[in-house]
């Protein structure tokens, strides 16, 4: 199938968006050129299409994705893949603040490092980061898995709900109510099954699986100090 080429440059973003949507509905493969780190590109893409961005994109790229394959050559700004329910997003470089915020399903694969609050309030799906995840990653994640292969910044997995944060490498420090557990063989196999299709499976890894200590699930006055830490 032939590839549709769409150039962003300084054109009105609405016009670019309509072109991307029209090509995506036809189910083809789309190449986006000269994105200039502009915001809101490739939002609400349907299943069955594949969109590749040359260079870097701005905020909210690939948000509300319902099944498209999206590939960003270099960096993504804030909120990449926000609230996506299905599909696959690959970021070749650095992902800015809140990548995968409130996502429900699908996979985000970041080849570089991430900014703060990776997967904030995510409800499901997977975020795989080859580099380091930033400050307060997994903040209030309700579900899903964040898997970091290059360590984590400060306040890791702060105020986690039912999500899981998996880290190999150094963790600067843990967030409020974050508890490190030893994963079972079955749990490791589950994570390896997520990493395998990305070519990242490595059975020699020393994992730390971080979950909620559940102290913040119900308010207890004796825990008031922990609440004040948030």
């Amino acid at each position: 199938m032939s590839e549709t080429i769409i150039t962003v440059a300084d054109r009105p973003i609405r016009e670019v968006h309509q072109e991307i949507q029209a090509a995506a509905q036809a189910g083809g493969s789309i190449l986006i050129r000269d994105a200039r780190s502009r915001h809101n590109l490739g939002v609400g893409l349907p299943p069955g299409c594949s969109v590749r961005f040359e260079g870097s994109v701005g905020y909210y790229c690939g948000g509300l994705n319902t099944g498209a394959r999206i590939e960003i050559e270099r960096n993504a700004g804030w909120g990449c893949g926000e609230a996506m329910s299905d599909g696959h997003v690959t970021i070749g470089g650095y992902a800015g603040m809140s990548v995968g915020a409130a996502m429900l399903g699908g996979t985000i694969h970041v080849k570089g490092d991430c900014g703060p609050r990776v997967g904030v309030a995510m409800k499901g799906g997977h975020i795989v980061v080859e580099g380091k995840i930033g400050y307060q990653s997994g903040f209030m994640a309700h579900g899903g898995k964040i898997i970091a292969l290059g360590g984590a910044g400060g306040s890791c997995a702060d105020a986690l709900w039912e999500g899981e944060v998996w880290v190999t490498g150094d963790i600067q420090d843990l967030g409020v109510d974050a508890v490190v557990t030893e994963p079972t063989a079955e749990q490791v196999a589950e994570v390896d099954a997520i990493l395998d299709p990305l070519g990242l499976k490595d059975t020699s890894r020393d994992w730390r699986r971080i979950v909620a200590g559940k102290r913040l699930w119900y308010f207890e006055s004796r825990d008031a100090k922990a609440w004040l830490m948030i």
Binding site: G55, S56, G58, N75, G134, Y135
Partner: protein, 315 residues
């Protein structure tokens, strides 16, 4: 929300034009007002004063009274003042004055008429231009694109905590420290605590904008002998809130970010030519190499400074 920007050139050049582009790219972050601080080629003596008057029909009387205060402090106009020819009720005026005998005392005296004519900046090289409206509108009205200098700051304001008025826009001058200005994206939550402390020390605030406070806070620390880097580090520990701010002096632009890592800063350093902004799409308007390395200062408690090189020679 607000958007901020900083620019450093290797030698005096069209820094005003670059700042206008940096701010136009971020106008969606705050279209209430736009402002620019430009450090031009420094004067050996005398100061450039930028001021906003609130009633154009009274401009002659305002300037006469301003001049009378100057004379009481051993100063006077070196050149005739110039002003914008807009039809707006407020007016912006640029004056060149002789060195007053005592800067702080003169500023205090000149501020006695600040309800009519309010000084926005005083410096050997600093000029602050700010007004309501977007980047291109403010640039057209005040000739910002023609401003030559080595470095500058820009700001697009979305007013959340205080008025939308030309003089409540950013950048803020660190009254009464000549040549120091700030732009800020965020909110200071212990604003009144610090304002009261600094007021007791003798500082005067003309707005209720928290950014005006940071400018004076950092300058006061530097007056006490701290380096800019030391003052910026202290600000992260001692000021509460979510913030990213940039402060400029004749030699340096510095930045600091709060401990919650809420407000972004994107920087490109092309061999000393610095472009810094809230959003990456803004720096792309002025950098030469589209494959340049982008530095994202996304983490908490970050600070840094960039030096300004050759301030006088042409490139």
């Amino acid at each position: 929300m607000c958007g901020i920007a900083g620019r450093i050139l290797n030698a005096p050049g069209k820094v005003g034009a670059d700042l206008v582009e940096l701010m136009d790219a971020q106008e969606h972050r705050g279209a209430d007002s736009t402002g620019f601080a430009v450090w031009g080629v420094p004067r050996d003596d005398g100061y450039i004063v930028r001021a906003i008057g609130f009633d154009r029909t009274r401009m002659a009387a305002d300037l006469e009274d301003f001049r009378a205060i100057l004379k009481q402090h051993g100063s006077d106009f070196i050149e005739d003042p110039t002003w914008d020819n807009d039809r707006s009720k407020h007016y912006s005026v640029r004056m060149i004055i002789r060195d007053p005998a005592d800067m702080a005392e003169w500023v205090r005296a000149a501020d006695e008429i600040c309800t009519r004519l309010e000084m926005q900046s005083v410096g050997r090289s600093l000029e602050i231009i700010k007004d309501t409206g977007g980047a291109y509108a403010v640039a057209d009205k005040h000739g910002v694109r023609d401003m030559i200098g080595t470095h500058g700051l820009g700001h697009a304001r979305l007013a959340t905590e205080s008025d939308v008025r030309p003089n409540a826009s950013h950048p803020f001058w660190a009254r009464p420290f000549p040549d120091v200005a700030i732009v800020h994206n965020g909110q200071i939550t212990d604003y009144y605590t610090w304002r009261n402390r600094l007021t007791r020390q003798g500082y005067r605030f003309l707005t209720y904008n928290d950014s005006e406070l940071i400018a004076v806070w950092v300058s006061d620390r530097m007056k006490q002998g701290l380096s800019m880097e030391q003052a910026l580090t202290r600000s992260i520990d001692e000021i509460d809130g979510v913030f990213t701010f940039m402060i400029g002096t004749p030699e340096t632009i510095g930045f600091a970010k709060d401990r919650f890592a809420m407000k972004p800063l994107v920087v490109v350093n092309e061999l000393g030519r610095i472009a810094a902004a809230t959003e990456e799409q803004a720096v792309r308007r002025v950098v030469l190499d589209e494959d340049c390395d982008i530095i994202n200062y996304d983490g908490p408690c970050q600070f840094g400074t960039w030096g300004v090189g050759n301030r006088r020679a042409a490139a």
